[in-house]
Symmetry: C2
Subunit: 249 residues, 2 copies
């Protein structure tokens, strides 16, 4: 039977700047009696990666520009937060209501450049990791160094959508596998050649993991077991639509 198991690692606890997430994950696996398997995907909430990398900023320490102050008034947002969002962005794609949709330096088109004040402590904001693929590779190498296993890694974050309500989790960084499955050119059961069969596996896995992360006990690290992934080098950039093909930027 085709089957997937998704489970959280209890007891990761509070993460601080400088902590080795690889070690925290290996310890949590051992406490939870989890032996990592070769095709496991470990999904890690962006927030703890940002914490481990010291990407938490005190809002009252932010120097606010006139432009950020003006935008803050327009969008009814804390000007210090707006300043952080601008510093994380290459451009504003749209603004309206209280929303500020930007393109981040990584190339993500998203609300608020992923800057977020939840689950980090009052008066603080978390920025996305500077290079989330690199963060994912580092965690993978730490796990490999400690237990020999080399699971695929996804760093996930919540994204809103242009035409649908509610957020879903997507990948912001990956390591150890191809985040896209391209099946164009293969034929279906009837002999029809598939022309649009490209699936964002990593995003689907991130969404699946969120369903476990959200449960009662906070679970920032989740193991997804049973996916058919293609191991190898991969980058979250494989998931980003080139600007030339973009009809909505």
């Amino acid at each position: 039977m085709n089957r997937l198991a998704i489970f959280g690692l209890a007891g990761i606890g509070e993460v601080g700047a400088g902590d080795s997430l690889g070690k925290l994950i290996v310890d949590a696996c051992s406490r939870n009696g989890v032996v990592l398997e070769p095709d496991d995907v470990i999904v890690i909430a962006q927030k703890i990666v940002s914490k481990s990398e010291g990407r938490l900023i005190r809002l009252d320490g932010v120097v606010v520009s006139d432009y950020a102050r003006e935008l803050g008034r327009e969008l009814d947002k804390d000007p210090a937060l707006v300043e952080l969002i601008l510093s994380e962005s290459q451009r504003i794609v749209r603004r309206g209501g209280r929303a500020m949709i930007v393109e981040t330096h990584h190339g993500f088109v998203c609300a608020n450049a992923g800057v977020d004040c939840s689950n980090v402590g009052l008066g603080k904001a978390a920025l996305l990791p500077k290079d989330p693929d690199k963060s994912a590779r580092k965690i993978r190498a730490e796990i490999q160094g400690l237990v020999g296993a080399s699971p695929a890694i996804i760093i996930s974050d919540s994204f809103g959508r242009a035409w649908r309500l509610g957020t879903i989790d997507l990948a912001v960084g990956v390591a150890g596998f191809k985040p896209i499955k391209d099946e164009r050119g293969t034929k279906d059961f009837y002999g029809y050649e598939l022309r649009a069969a490209v699936t964002a596996i990593a995003d689907e896995i991130a969404s699946a993991a969120e369903l476990v992360m959200r449960k009662k006990e906070a679970m920032p690290v989740v193991v997804v077991r049973g996916c058919e992934i293609e191991k190898g080098e991969g980058s979250v950039k494989d998931l980003l639509r080139p600007e030339a093909e973009d009809l909505f930027r």
Copy 2:
């Protein structure tokens, strides 16, 4: 331990117009030794729902308008397919390259109005169900009538994204639960009041199920067990952003 299990129901087989999907699902459960649990979510690929509802169209029988012919030339698409897409749409949102992004009569903003030639037989196209929530409610009622269980139902389809490559599966119809989880106003661990905490649970579940549907043996029906869903009336319309709040239409 927070845990989710996702498994496909083997042996659904070819679906034809008039087939009761509820009965096919109940039979497949019994063959697979699956006893449905109260919080199970059954995710059903749109394609078999469309087949059961006779929503397959022979392309060579489509009367093609001049406008569809012209668009077909512009977009390098079969004009009969373009005609079907137009008939399923309230408007074209964007076009460019070979892409035609429309708003369907249901209110979905998506490529090709969900009209798709894969997995339906050569020379044919499948249209989305006319009222996918109604389809989901019907299947749920059939299952309830046969075995007493009343699982939540999601009808899923693949969607492209404006700024990311690859498709992910999302809900196009739901029954028996709330597709959105709104946690705004609750406080995080540090006492910060969450202001943007609205999650599209149904879309995340659809994406999770796709990871199982895609495996070797085609699995158009997947059971997701262990989600924390809120039972009750729900509609896919709860997942659609109202036009007044749309920055990209």
